[in-house]
Symmetry: C2
Subunit: 326 residues, 2 copies
């Protein structure tokens, strides 16, 4: 079974999906769809083409799954329902509070078109969600804690860049080691935002900028930094480019719970990722396989990773999985 | 939705399942079924009864899922197909090499009776299998390593007890820290059996027994110990009872792989369990929920954890899961 994949959007995530398709022999990249002039977009897959998004109106017979690599703020709420009416689709929508609304919109469009959609796929939401649900179902008296990092938060880096006098910035979210230890001990600690994570910033300032003012603006920024212990380091653009070019990320879901009085268990799922967009792209590619198969079984409508049996994301047959992986 | 559960077999695992049912409000223990005289078996659930296994012939209307807590060597190959013809069943069959054969036997019986069966459920096989399949599907160029321990191996403890002059024994399997580090580094090391785990034995010898001879017999025992670096400590029965009464276990599935040249990811799933049978029982109880639901959806035949979408094991509704856990 070979799947023909389309990628809509060619930023970091789109390139991550493209890399993932190359290592999955049962997948073929048909093309990359962009809102830019496709002639200006160079992709890394010989044989695949670049198209303007408008071309998607006429290519429903050529693509088995469309992987939508847009932003959660404005792109995906509009794009995913729109294209679920034409294609099997998958996205990485990650605005947790708006998932139910997004689900309903995509579900309606996909069901009407007899298509299958998977939303909010990646690692959080995604693999982390799956681990939270598995561990809490096994340990219903337990408690799950999610930690992020050490890794780059692009949203927080962008927020720093908007400050006057800042030329460039990179923000790392870092879990607090004492919090990790307290959770693993099974004490079920109540942890404040400040106790769970610290924020570490590398900032390139314009010549003559007021560094103390910039540092204060960062540390007191509501939502982004004011609830955290934040460290600000001023460095040169050369240092930033040399030491902070990547987009590493990761984190942990730790669940502890008792099965009887005093009998404690710790379940920990941990990711250490050199590239957030490449790993997210790899998850999207694997679940694109599930999306296609579920559609072939006429399992229409919107799904999440929680609705997908693990066999559906593997390229191996059920019999091979039982013989070699179980 | 409430589920009526039967437990077949009342050893450590049966008691673990019983403890798990107590913390799942949607489950009710109907009774424990035993090959012993049921009058001699005292259980921990007020209101539930003990029955002889023969009673199972006439109770098909009273039980939604029968959780079979027998041994993999001789009990389960016979029991699970037999009772899959009468009940929805679930077991923890863990002889990896014989899973395909067991699956076929159970599948035939369950399909003929329009029942649903889940086999090989627990943590390995079970949660570890699920993590191997997820991680390898996401990182198809990657490699998964499974480590066990630190934890008690009952099979190895029993093997030591069979040596002349040994009164009691407890064997711990311990992963080698250097092997864990080599795997996490992403080097994809080739590790021999000896390089992955060591074996640590606490032995109570009879008065006047030849300790050197016992130690040599343990260390050279084929299959069990001869391929490992083994440490033997002689202790008193009091010390064994005091310090080694529990059945802790655990382990790790570590997968590393690249998504593009030099871009490396590490996925690690880790369990640290105070009680192996209680955690296994908790997994069985959660998947009993899936077994019942899949049967209600007329999804008949034999399944494994790989065939079960995570939502099926949760007591929360799909909408609740999307709103709170995704």
């Amino acid at each position: 079974m070979s799947m023909r994949i389309g990628i809509l959007g060619y930023g970091n995530l789109g390139r991550g999906v493209e890399a993932a398709i190359k290592v999955n022999p049962d997948m073929e990249l048909v093309g990359v769809f962009t809102r830019r002039d496709p002639a200006t977009v160079t992709i890394n897959t010989p044989g695949a083409k670049t198209y303007h998004t408008d071309a998607l109106a006429d290519m429903t017979g050529d693509i088995d799954v469309l992987i939508i690599c847009g932003g959660s703020a404005t792109d995906l709420p509009e794009m995913t329902p729109k294209y679920a009416a034409l294609y099997n689709v998958i996205d990485s929508f990650d605005t947790h509070a708006k998932i139910p609304e997004h689900f309903e919109n995509v579900d309606k469009a996909a069901k009407a078109a007899k298509k299958t959609a998977i939303i909010s796929c990646g690692w959080d939401p995604g693999m982390f969600s799956l681990n939270r649900v598995l561990s809490q179902s096994i340990l219903p008296n337990g408690q799950s804690y999610t930690f992020w990092g050490k890794g780059v938060s692009q949203g927080h880096s962008d927020a720093i860049r908007r400050i006057e006098g800042v030329l460039d910035a990179r923000q790392y979210t870092v879990p607090v080691p004492a919090a990790l230890e307290a959770v693993r001990s099974g004490k079920n600690p109540e942890l404040s935002t400040r106790e769970k994570h610290t924020r570490l910033c590398y900032v390139v300032a314009a010549e003559g900028a007021d560094l103390a003012k910039i540092e204060n603006e960062i540390k007191t920024m509501p939502n982004y930094f004011s609830d955290y212990d934040t460290t600000v380091n001023f460095i040169s653009q050369e240092e930033l480019n040399r030491d902070h070019a990547g987009l590493p990320h990761g984190g942990k879901v730790i669940t502890t719970g008792e099965t009887s009085d005093g009998v404690k268990h710790v379940v920990e799922y941990s990711l250490d990722l050199d590239s957030n967009p490449e790993f997210t792209g790899a998850v999207l590619a694997a679940y694109a396989r599930a999306c296609f198969r579920m559609n072939q079984e006429e399992n229409f409508g919107c799904k999440t990773v929680l609705d997908v049996a693990p066999t559906y994301i593997s390229s191996l047959s059920d019999a091979e999985l039982r013989a070699h992986c179980l």
